[in-house]
Amino acid sequence: MSAPVTAAPSQAPAVRPRLALESGGLSLQNPILTASGTFGYAREFESLTELGALGGVVTKGISPKPRFGNATPRICETAAGMLNSIGLENVGVEGFRTEKLPYLKTLGTRVVVNFFGVTFDDYVSCGESLASMDGVDALEMNVSCPNIKAGGIEFGTDPRVLGELVRACRPVIRKPLWIKLTPNTSDIVALARACADNGADGLSIMNTITGMAIDARTRRPKIATVFGGLSGPAIKPIALRMVHQVFRAGVPLPISGIGGIQDATDVVEFLLAGASTVQVGTQNFADPDTACRIVRDLADLLASDGVTDVRELVGGLRT
């Protein structure tokens, strides 16, 4: 059926809401990214979704050298979520440069590289190398790793240590630097402030929550490392709370909200809580096309609510 040559005013197509925005030092075509560790190096999704439609992809966490990951079993499903203890398996900085980055550069979407280390020097050298690569648009620092020198306490749980880590990396990373905060803390605002005070460009809130699952029949833990990271819709209320706490406290950094996002309504909730962008995580496992579907649905949802620019929603919670 052909379209009418002229449309009556009442039938004119609604103006599509603006989804493009600047956030965390990047200009993005929309606020939908994919979360580290749930999207590989993007190529795995080549035939499963439209990668170019995404606001950006956040890669698997990269360490200075390749890592083979933890013992098995590594995952188990829990109520409306899952536990994982993959062990940050990755190809390392050089493997990333030679094997993964050439493809990522062709996607036409923003490439945010997640990275981590087990010492300050690791973080600095890894961050510097990755930031120097053409095609890397921004870095996201995973601070949920144990600090060997501090007896294995996560870098990201102590505001003073976290601040020092950000300060150490900042001068050598000449690209936008986002810090992915751990929820395994009693004071998320103090951690967020430590990042802001030491030159970070954005915050990703939040990483997985430490949890465990037990098989009552065998009396064994369901994953080999006993404890693992809980993700999925089960943690969404906690993620919303942490995003909103940091936003409400006036920490002067844009927030990328992460935790159990499955659809466009979830995205709107995170934006209202104070996030500027979001990252779709575990749901990529259940349906690899989720993030792209959300991009499409978000435009429709905003249009139906009369919202013309996605930025209007950020922090728009009515209290």
Binding site: G37, T38, F39, G40, E44, F45, S47, L48, R67, F68, G69, N70, A71, T72, P73, R74, I75, C76, E77, A79, A80, G81, M82, N84, S85, I86, G87, L88, E89, F116, V118, S144, C145, P146, I148, G152, N207, T208, T210, T225, F227, G228, G229, G232, P233, Q262, T282, N284, F285, A286, D287, P288, D289
Partner: protein, 281 residues
Amino acid sequence: MRYFEARVAKNESLSGGYFRLSLAGCHPLGASRPGQFVMLRGDWERDPLLPRAFSLLSVGADGEAAILAKTVGRGTALLERAAAGARISVLGPLGTAFPAPSPEFIDLLVGGGVGIPPIYLQAAVAARAGLASRSEILYGGRRTSDLVLLDEMKAFGVSLHLATEDGSTGRHGRVTAELEARLATHAGKPVRIMACGPNAMLWAVGRIARERDIPCFISVEEQMACGIGVCLGCAVPARSRPFRYVCKDGPVFDAADILDVARGDPASQKPPSTPQTGCLT
């Protein structure tokens, strides 16, 4: 490849708590080979969250495909209750397959319990290729009710050798004892083994093959969230690399490469070769 929507055509209760779920609208699975699998999910909202992996039992030219399952958790319980017409999201075919039947080999197809689907499909493919006489199914379970679809497998024209641990049908004992007996019968002939079943059975089958220097292919089961090589949950320790992945490198592997199918292999108990830092996720 995308998730596509299929409909439950038929959901049959079988003995032993098994059920066969037949799905209409599975034309994308038309080129599937025995051993390959699908990820399935119903309209389950947020819980259970993840799709479930199943080896294909049958794939028809009419777009109907079937899986065989037994309820072990919430996902399988929901599938067992799925009524005709229910919507099921399907991704596949995924993963590797058993080698194609060949007139040069006698294929011993070993299935244990819920591991029978790829064995059944391999036998069906052999029958279609006119090679039923070159394949034997060795099928074991705890008791008679664990052995399902026997008449259909007999109809393929392959010989069927059964074993039950309680002795109620066939050989009294494990299917691996039946395997050793069939290997003795075929001594000196070119034999291949293809197996699917509990990890302990696969480990024992692999050991039997290794001792006799017989090619052996095993279809391995492991927890997986995505089925597409992203979550890295379905790692199994291997000889060729520290880990291989059931969804991308398998589920069918050369048995000689997989160290840990029973989690009982002493070689798999040593810590991985790279220093671990205790990073969880």
